[in-house]
């Protein structure tokens, strides 16, 4: 197999260089197959897809998937005749097959346990595990890529031997972390949606609404209890500890959001702490868990943690910006749901630093839409949005640095995954929705 990797590596390297790469890449492959548009790698292409879908994607499966990725990169190069390597393949695609596997496992677990007794609950929880929901499989993707990025090198001669079986087992356990993370995430969404009586008074307190509350609480409880069982099954004290901490942080963050005092609402420090708890803690602790399961040192595990933490923070900060700007570059076109719920986010906090009089506006609350307009006006005048983007960029850079500080490896799969993780930070910063 190693010669194929060597070839792939050369192709990828050529594809990455500017100009002339395409021609060279062409020359590396046998002409007949080149003409047909399939190369040596290409012949792998079609069977690959069906192979992967029909069996458990172990670490070797992941490796095959990534070789397909490389092939696609090379194929694109040949397509346009000029290197378009800058146009990298979607990192989410890299683990797409593994992700469907996870999603199916989760869905069947929910269906099996609940279907007999609670079809309604099953559909409530299932909704969240639907395959293909746009942009929703963020966490598992990051975790699976991290697992690949942290792989210890497997020497070629032991393929199919004991070591590779162990590696497959590890992969399964790391997949379990991804599943557990997703269960915890969905449970927290369900519990966060629990309405208080105050909320129902404004709307219609129908039986449906009350039933919805009960189902939300119960569905969340169900997922949390299954997460407990799955964590117990992993049999690793440190990992369980990390995930328990993550749940605690989720709860803390949500409680902070509900019960902030006036002084706290003004504080950028409080806001960042709350953001870490609500958004970044889960992904950072699960990244660390993935590293620990693989048996890495504390140092490497911390790097994984740092990646997750900074990625999560960057993600949330851009989310805050998008809530104001939406898909357009201009302000006020976003959904403005944060401000409408009285949640003061980073851009506004920065604006208040520049315009202290904005504090009074904020304190008045935003039930009155005119007040929202006033606040947006200040925000427009200020550098709030820009500074938030800068902070997000800073965190993204730190995430990249964490990946770059990982121990060297020349395993192609590892390198690909690391590139993908870096790519994700870029996407998080530049996304428009």
């Amino acid at each position: 197999m190693s010669w194929r990797w060597a070839l792939a590596r050369r192709v990828a390297k050529l594809a990455a260089t500017d100009g002339g790469g395409g021609a060279q890449a062409q020359r590396l492959l046998p002409t007949s197959s080149a003409a047909a548009g399939t190369g040596l790698l290409g012949r792998l292409h079609m069977p690959l897809a069906s192979q992967i879908r029909s069996k458990v994607v172990g670490c070797r499966g992941a490796a095959l998937v990534s070789s397909r990725w490389l092939h696609d990169a090379q194929y694109q190069v040949r397509q346009d005749g000029a290197s378009r390597a800058q146009e990298q393949q979607d990192p989410f695609e890299l683990v797409a097959d593994e992700l469907s596997l996870l999603a199916n496992r989760l869905r069947s677990m929910v269906a099996a346990e609940l279907h007999l007794q609670v079809p309604k609950l099953a559909s409530a929880a299932e909704y969240f595990f639907k395959v293909g929901a746009e942009g929703k499989r963020f966490r598992p993707t990051v975790l699976l890529l991290m697992a690949s990025a942290l792989k210890f090198p497997l020497s070629e001669s032991t393929e199919g031997g004991v070591l590779s079986i162990l590696a497959d087992k590890l992969r399964t356990r790391q997949q379990n972390i991804a599943e557990i993370t997703e269960m915890i995430h969905v449970a927290s969404l369900l519990h966060d949606d629990v309405l208080d009586d105050a909320d129902t008074r404004r709307g219609v307190s129908s039986l449906n609404l009350i039933m919805g509350n009960k189902l939300s609480v119960l569905a969340g409880d169900f997922l949390l209890s299954r997460a407990c069982v799955a964590l117990a099954a992993l049999g690793n004290t440190e990992v369980v500890s990390l995930m328990a901490t993550a749940v605690e942080h989720l709860v803390t963050g949500e409680t902070m959001q509900i019960s902030t005092s006036r002084e706290q609402r003004r504080s950028m420090e409080y806001y960042l702490q709350k953001t870490y708890y609500k958004t970044a803690s889960l992904i950072s602790n699960s990244c660390k868990a993935v590293a620990i399961l693989a048996g890495h040192t504390a140092e490497v595990s911390m790097l994984a943690y740092e990646y997750g933490r900074n990625l999560g923070l960057a993600f949330q900060l851009i989310d805050d910006v998008l809530d104001f700007t939406g898909t357009s570059a201009s302000l006020g076109k976003g959904s403005l749901s944060d401000i409408r719920h009285g949640i003061i986010t980073a851009p506004m906090l920065y604006a208040i630093e520049e315009f202290p009089q904005l504090q009074e506006v904020v304190d008045r609350g935003f039930d009155n839409p005119a007040n929202i307009e006033i606040a947006l006006d200040y925000l427009r005048k200020s550098r709030g949005i820009e500074r938030t983007k800068e902070l997000a960029r800073e965190h993204a850079d730190r995430a990249v640095k964490a990946i770059e500080s990982l121990p060297d490896s020349d395993d192609e799969d590892v390198l690909t995954s690391r590139r993908a993780l870096i790519d994700i930070t870029e996407r998080v910063i530049t996304r428009t929705k």
Binding site: V217, T237, V240, S241, E248
Partner: protein, 395 residues
Amino acid sequence: MLPGRILLAGLRRSASAASSVAQSPKNMCYWDRVIWSSRYFHSASDNAFSEGGSKAKELPDPFALIKDEVSEVTDRLRSMVVAEIPELTSTAGYFFRAGAEGKRTCPTVLLLMASAISTDMSDPIVGLENKPRARHMRVAEITEMIHISNLIHDDVLDNADTRRGMDSLNFTVGKKLAVLAGDFLLFRAFSAAVALDNTEVVSLLATAVNNLVTGELMQLTITPAQRCSMDYYLQKTYYKTAALISNSCKAVAVLSGQTTEVQDLAYQYGRHLGIAYQLIDDILDFTGTSASLGKASFSDINQGIVTAPILFAMEEFPQLREIVEQGFDDPSNVDVVLKYLQKSQGIERTRLLAAEHAKLAAAAIDDLPASEDPVVLSSRQALKDLTQKFLRRTK
């Protein structure tokens, strides 16, 4: 001949009023416990002989035997639920405040069980902390946290205003914060369980948590047919009430390194005790504090929850089944059912079933490997007395 220091301790204790001296259980060495528990044992046997063994006498209080250690558990619980932010600490610690702790049946049972199955004769007298005992107390703490977490969520689901004679947590801080507090407690408990470094124990507790949710699910989504099924009811009761205590009893046995037979006996005790407890609870919902119907809350039936007395009544009066299947949104249905219940043997048969389970629980204790240790014996007696105490409760 006991060492002089022990004699002195014994004298000191008998001099002071009935164990009101705050002896820290941490410092209570083995021999102190012997003396203390032998007093319990003697009072039990005194009672038996003094009135010619009549049944309607005052049982020694099994809770008293282990009261100090249970207090220690509660104190620790208060510190175990401290969170990063005060709002969360106060909601999570709501039911651990002084005066709010309830009967603390779970820790009592577990600590008694730990003593009852103990085969370790040599307590280091000089040691400050009895290591195995400390781990058992951890299990008690964890179980109590899981129990409270479940109570909090139950109250949210049932929209309950009161609990333990005071405002429920959701009534005080709202549903959402209550739900979050419950989640927090659950995972704090889970972290503590993991710190015990025993995967089987963690597994047992995770199973218990899972069962609690399943029981609640069974209740929420019950179909008319299931509502009339005694099997469904007993299964649901096991999940909701007995699963936690039975799995934690087993966990205590596992931590003590006991054989699978002993583990199973501990489990069976917990299981039968839990079910007996729930059956009496069901009766009390109809009878309240008096023996006759009509002086109680009827909260079960008003929420449409069909319990054992009604299920038994349905066996006697098949026409009752149709009404039960209709549900209880119509209050006149409730009246009809109550009339049938009064005519039937429903209450009595439920009491008999509870007594049966109590007997099975006591039998599990009797099957434990023989021991001469007075502490072990008195703990076992206390566990058996507990089953009787449950049968006789009036509130």
